[in-house]
């Protein structure tokens, strides 16, 4: 037996297909609505009829540039299209129009968290524009495969990463980041279950310290982030075990069986495709000028990474708060509007992550459909800061009323319900004296050194004032009275 076992380190790369949310297809004018009746959103071009000519959708170019800018990529000036030839029933032209040698974006990175929570940059090799295929349905007709071409020609971006991942967690975090990005940019639904984001992974392992990569295996057909992570971790174990038992990894394409949690062989290298790429003569080159890129950049919404930086550095919020607030675009937009109405950022963040978030979760409402406007929340924060109502009253009493009557002013709600805090010294002093009069024995104990009793007196003050006593003033008055 060998004394030391060879350690292996995995090398993983991801290819993501992002379905763009354009209204019409990449090369023709038929609609792209998800879930339409089969073969109703088709055209002579997407059906692959002879003699038809494709015409490219300008929105697809714009979306690609947006993603490229967000990933710090270089944007190519002269873009050409190519035909990728293969025969499949859901690809009626017999070729996919894609970009081969001239991907619109190349280079760049996406920052993610690694398995230990440290920042890591994942390199982007390329992003190119192409089109989706139709759908083959194998389980309706027992004797035939059925073809729905609604999806044929829907624009896609294929995003290829550098082999920078070391485990499944990193891949999971990367996918979350990409989804967040495409949703912020509003270029895709980023929904893996509906297929608007799809992911293939390349996995290989090599003995630690060796420069040369091992033979890679491609895994396809994972329908959730979690399954991508599981497939990677399974594949690493399988390859290491195979090599340790004297075997050799073959260049293969595998499917992921989510039920078994295993990868299964789909095709071996012998069946590999021969795509015979050549220039698409029916589409003229697309020139993306520096001005165009600059213009797209200037009209882009702030990205989650920029917002996190602003919240941590300028607003002095914690990294955790910043991450939660930017989790989705709508949440961030709401917060952005909220902080345009108040300077108490910490309190604004607390409202978002406290009262507002729990209300939304409870009612299963999206923040886009939340009827209370940020300005009203800011007014609540102001009432608390002015000492007119306590935090507790604001969150537990005023807020529910506000949800019920989103058009009323928080101040009005507090007044009508008699929730305005008693900070009037004379009135409060009376209450303080009443509270102390109720517990003469405890007052003696306090004076004898049992300072913890202050809480009891405070509770009584709150009870007598029905929660309206300003705690700061009340504490001050209590200590004064007790030291007499």
């Amino acid at each position: 037996m060998s004394a030391t076992k060879v350690k292996f380190s995995p090398v993983i790369g991801l290819e993501i297909h992002i379905q763009l949310n354009t209204k019409s297809k990449a090369y023709s004018t038929d609609a792209t609505t998800y879930g339409a009746a089969p073969n109703t959103q088709v055209s002579p071009v997407s059906l692959g009829h002879p003699g038809t000519l494709p015409m490219f959708n300008e929105m697809a170019v714009k979306s690609a540039v947006k993603l490229g800018v967000a990933c710090h990529s270089n944007i190519r000036e002269r873009n050409e299209f190519a035909r990728k030839n293969y025969f499949y029933a859901d690809m009626p032209k017999g070729y996919q129009i894609t970009q081969h040698h001239t991907p619109i974006c190349y280079g760049g990175f996406i920052a993610i968290k690694d398995a230990d929570g440290n920042e890591k940059k994942i390199g982007i090799t390329r992003i190119h524009m192409e089109e989706d295929s139709g759908k083959s349905i194998h389980d309706i007709d027992p004797f035939h495969t059925l073809i729905d071409l609604n999806r044929a020609g829907v624009p896609l971006l294929e995003m290829v990463s550098e082999p920078d991942f070391r485990n499944g967690v990193e891949a999971y975090n990367y996918l979350s980041e990409v989804r967040k990005l495409v949703r912020y940019l509003d270029i895709s639904d980023g929904n893996m279950e509906e297929g608007s984001m799809r992911c293939d992974v390349n996995v290989s392992v090599r003995p630690e310290g060796r420069e040369k990569f091992g033979t890679k295996v491609e895994v396809k057909n994972m329908n959730s982030f979690r399954n991508v992570q599981r497939a990677i971790d399974f594949e690493i174990k399988r390859q290491v075990a195979l090599i340790e038992s004297g075997g050799e990894v073959q260049q293969e394409t595998m499917n992921f069986d989510a039920a078994k949690g295993e990868t299964v062989l789909m095709r071996s290298k012998e069946d590999a495709h021969d795509y015979r790429y050549f220039n698409e003569p029916d589409l003229q080159p697309v020139i993306v000028t520096e001005d165009y890129v600059e213009n797209v950049k200037n009209n882009m919404p702030p990205l989650p990474s920029a917002l996190v930086e602003k919240y941590v550095n300028e607003l002095k919020l914690s990294e955790y708060d910043a991450a939660v607030l930017t989790e989705n675009k709508q949440m961030a937009w709401y917060f952005e509007e909220l902080i345009s109405h108040t300077k108490n950022y910490k309190s604004a963040a607390n409202w978002m992550m406290g009262a507002i978030k729990s209300y939304l979760n409870e009612r299963a409402v999206d923040i886009e459909n939340f009827t209370v406007k940020p300005a009203k929340i800011a007014a609540c924060i102001q009432l608390v800061d002015d000492g007119k109502i306590s935090n507790t009253i604001a969150a537990q009493n005023v807020f529910p009323k506000l949800v019920e009557y989103p058009d009323t002013e928080p101040l009005q709600i507090a007044q009508e319900n008699n929730w305005i805090q008693e900070s009037n010294q004379d009135a409060l002093l009376e209450i303080v004296q009443q509270a102390l009069a109720k517990y003469p024995a405890k007052v003696e104990e306090y004076k004898a050194g049992k300072k913890g009793l202050l809480g009891l007196f405070m509770g009584e003050v709150m009870k007598l004032s029905r929660g309206k006593a300003d705690p700061k003033v009340a504490t001050q008055l209590l200590t004064e009275e007790l030291s007499k």
Partner: protein
């Protein structure tokens, strides 16, 4: 450049065409004719000439992202050799 029988068979397979022996032979002959026709170009001195991929110099021939439904569902299926009311029908791909 000559095209081999194996190359014809490979191309036929990639296009999912079934060719019998006679068809392979005649196809090979035809393709060789085509290739030698195109080979004529090799006789020219093309030093410094950029390959011509497009028939015009136009660029950015783009269209706005607007929907125009040009054909109906019935028209889409009309010319298909096999179909049902909703779908195109093809031989079973997965067995």
């Amino acid at each position: 450049m000559k095209i081999s029988k194996e190359e014809v068979e490979k191309l036929a397979h990639l296009s999912r065409l079934q060719l019998d022996e006679t068809a392979v032979t005649s196809m090979q002959k035809d393709m060789n004719k085509m290739l030698s026709f195109v080979e004529k170009i090799n006789e020219l001195d093309l030093e410094g000439v950029e390959p011509l991929a497009y028939m015009s110099d136009e660029v950015n021939v783009l269209r706005a992202d607007e929907i125009k439904q040009e054909i109906t569902h019935e028209e889409a299926l009309k010319n298909a050799p096999d179909k049902d009311t909703d779908y195109f029908r093809v031989p079973k791909v997965l067995r």
